[in-house]
């Protein structure tokens, strides 16, 4: 392999980017925007005080329970709304959005009873995540109420990550993997399609260049940009520079300040391997596209299933059984697992699961390199 030719091809890609500001924006601006937006949505989620109403349907015993609940709710920071004493008025209040949760104390013997009275929680059921937040708030308040009564208290600690549960912690590694794959795939696919359609590939193949040099040059060129992209994403995800309030803008943190235990070198290694796979997948699939739009059409087939199954949103073990084997052959699955191992668990190369992740990513990259190179034919049969 001629290093000069490989370098020239990589430089060609870099020079192309220099003038293509839109692609640069896609590569660096878009992930930052998405990450910041996500951080803002998740962190800044306004959790207004949960408004509850308590209705007694269980007679004098129920009245005692209602008093206990109302006291506990008030001390727990919940807002108790007086809506009258009937189940119907509670339903009406829920429907009119005057309360978030209606608690009804039902007499013993109602379905679900274990002998004592039953506390029924009713929520609107429109947006389940909102309901869960409010129900959780009620449960916390009630748990606090019994905390001092000798009942066992439950304290939640975590082995890895920050003790304050933050969805971003698990999202950040997944997004780094996802962006690394997605943008590199799209950009390489389009770039190589242009080579095929624009006649430059034909011309390139009329020079003494080797196929391996083309593949290596592309992998190096786009791998370099993928790595730079990771640097930017990591700075945004794990950096925590406080920007003071300016004018109407409130004080905010440039960078999400996500707890990070990992080694940057291993992070790069994972993303680089993933990016090389994505580069060669782009080269491979550009064979099956005739226009740039057709490259974009691969996104629902190649990218979306990986996002759904690869662990961005749900862990592999929570997937339905038939989908689990599929998830286990997707490169993004291993990249995300690897990034979580490094960034959240702080694992090093000694970790066996990380070794498996890296090995699979390497294997996927090699297979895609071979397949991608096979589509670059000098002699058409």
């Amino acid at each position: 392999m001629n290093v000069r030719r490989v370098a020239a091809i990589a430089r060609r890609i870099a020079n192309g980017f220099k003038r293509d500001h839109r692609s640069l924006g896609l590569l660096f601006g878009a992930p930052v925007l998405v990450l910041l937006l996500l951080g803002w949505v998740i962190r800044g989620q306004s959790s207004p005080a949960t408004r509850i109403a308590v209705v007694n349907e269980a007679g004098p015993l129920g009245a005692v329970i209602v008093t206990r609940i109302v006291d506990a709710a008030r001390t727990g920071g919940l807002q108790v709304v007086d809506i009258g004493a009937s189940v119907d008025s509670a339903r009406a209040a829920l429907a009119d959005d005057r309360i978030d949760v209606a608690l009804t104390v039902e007499p013993p013997g109602t379905p679900g009873s274990t002998g004592g009275p039953v506390i029924e929680l009713m929520t609107p059921g429109v947006i389940s995540t909102d309901d869960s937040l409010h129900v959780a708030a009620v449960q916390r308040a009630l748990a606090d109420a019994v905390a001092g009564t000798g009942a066992p208290a439950v304290v939640h600690r975590v082995l890895y990550g920050s003790p304050d549960p933050d969805v971003l912690d698990s999202f950040a590694p997944a997004l780094i993997g996802f962006f690394g794959f997605f943008f590199v795939f799209v950009l390489t696919g389009v770039s190589f399609l242009r080579e095929r359609v624009g006649g430059t590939l034909e011309r390139l193949l009329a020079t003494p260049v080797r196929r391996s040099e083309i593949v290596a040059g592309y992998s190096l060129g786009f791998g370099l940009f993928a790595t730079l992209q990771v640097v930017v994403i990591l700075m945004v995800a794990f950096g925590s520079l406080r920007v003071p309030a300016i004018g109407p803008l409130p004080e905010f943190s440039a960078g999400l300040g996500i707890a990070n235990a990992g080694s940057p070198a291993l992070t790069f290694l994972i993303v680089f391997l993933l990016a090389i796979g994505a580069v060669n997948l782009g080269i491979l699939l550009s064979t099956f596209a005739r226009t740039e739009l057709q490259v974009i059409q691969f996104i629902p087939i190649v990218i979306v299933p990986q996002a759904l199954l690869g662990g961005v949103f749900w862990s592999i073990s929570s997937l339905p059984d038939p989908l689990q084997p599929i998830a286990r052959v997707l490169p993004l699955t291993y990249a995300i697992d690897g990034l979580r191992n490094v960034l959240i668990r702080g694992e090093g190369l000694a970790s066996q699961t990380l070794q498996v992740d890296l090995l699979v990513l390497l294997l996927v990259a090699v297979v895609l390199i071979v397949l991608g190179a096979a589509t670059i034919r000098r002699e058409v049969a």
């Binding site: 020239a8 020079n15 192309g16 624009g198 011309r203 009329a206």
Partner: protein
């Protein structure tokens, strides 16, 4: 055939055939090209000129027959370093500048000498536009840059696939001056064209139709054979003579269909 010449041929093809499905794009072509001459491949669109060039450059593998270029049987990667190939499409990178394109192809050919790059750009009169992005070049300038990219390694053998398509008459004259100068320096040039008036500038012509060589020789010789005053007429007359024989057995085209023969 140039049998009897004392110079070894630069390009030798023997019974080259290239079949795509039911169609023979190149159907048994033999030729010998000697150094320092300009050869013209003349024929309508779809007659097999580009496929013939691709076979000679080694971008396609012949179904049967052989092509030897610079003494080596094609396809062979190593020989490509001494061949220049200007494709029909410009084949240059729109997102690079003029000089970046030239440097890129020079690197591919393994050329480190910057003066060769400058020379190629000066030759096509783009020496003063180094940093202009290709996107901002006119069609004619792109054609010139495309030619320069085929010259950066000072090839001994140059294949030019319709180099003057979309090029204005003044620039066409400039191009042909370049080609003549390169040939005078000993390079062999193979130009494909479907423009008949360009053909007379070549030392030897091959009229190509349906993947076969219809006639070969200098422009004067071909006109004489056909008994016409211009090449266009010669081509049509020769194509008319060849058509029934070539068309009749494999295809079910009506016998009086002259369209099929000419297009």
């Amino acid at each position: 055939m140039t049998a009897g010449t004392d110079v070894a041929p630069v390009v030798e093809a023997r019974e080259l055939r290239k079949v795509f499905g039911p169609i023979a794009a190149v159907d048994g072509i033999s030729l010998d090209f000697t150094p320092g001459r300009i050869y013209g491949l003349l024929g309508p669109n779809g007659s097999g000129k580009t496929t013939l060039i691709r076979l000679l450059v080694g971008l396609a593998r012949p179904t049967s027959g052989t092509a030897r270029v610079l003494g080596t049987e094609m396809p062979e990667r190593q020989v490509l370093g001494r061949i220049g190939y200007m494709t029909q499409a410009d084949g240059i990178y729109a997102d690079l500048s003029v000089v970046e394109n030239a440097r890129f192809f020079a690197s591919m050919y393994g050329v480190r000498d910057r003066t060769a790059i400058e020379e190629a750009l000066d030759l096509v009169d783009l020496g003063g536009r180094h940093s202009t992005p290709v996107e901002e070049l006119s069609g004619g300038m792109r054609r010139r840059l495309s030619l320069a990219c085929a010259l950066v390694h000072r090839p001994r053998l140059l294949f030019l696939d319709e180099p003057t398509v979309g090029v204005d008459p003044a620039l066409r004259v400039v191009f042909w001056e370049h080609f003549r100068r390169l040939a005078a320096d000993g390079a062999t040039i193979v130009v494909s064209s479907h423009v008949m008036d360009e053909a007379d500038r070549c030392d030897e012509l091959l009229l190509i139709l349906n993947g076969r060589v219809l006639a070969r020789g200098s422009g004067a010789q071909i006109r004489e054979t056909a008994g016409t005053h211009d090449l266009e007429g010669a081509f049509l007359r020769l194509a008319g003579r060849a058509a029934p024989a070539a068309e009749a057995p494999p295809r079910e085209a009506p016998p009086n269909d002259r369209e099929g023969a000419a297009s």
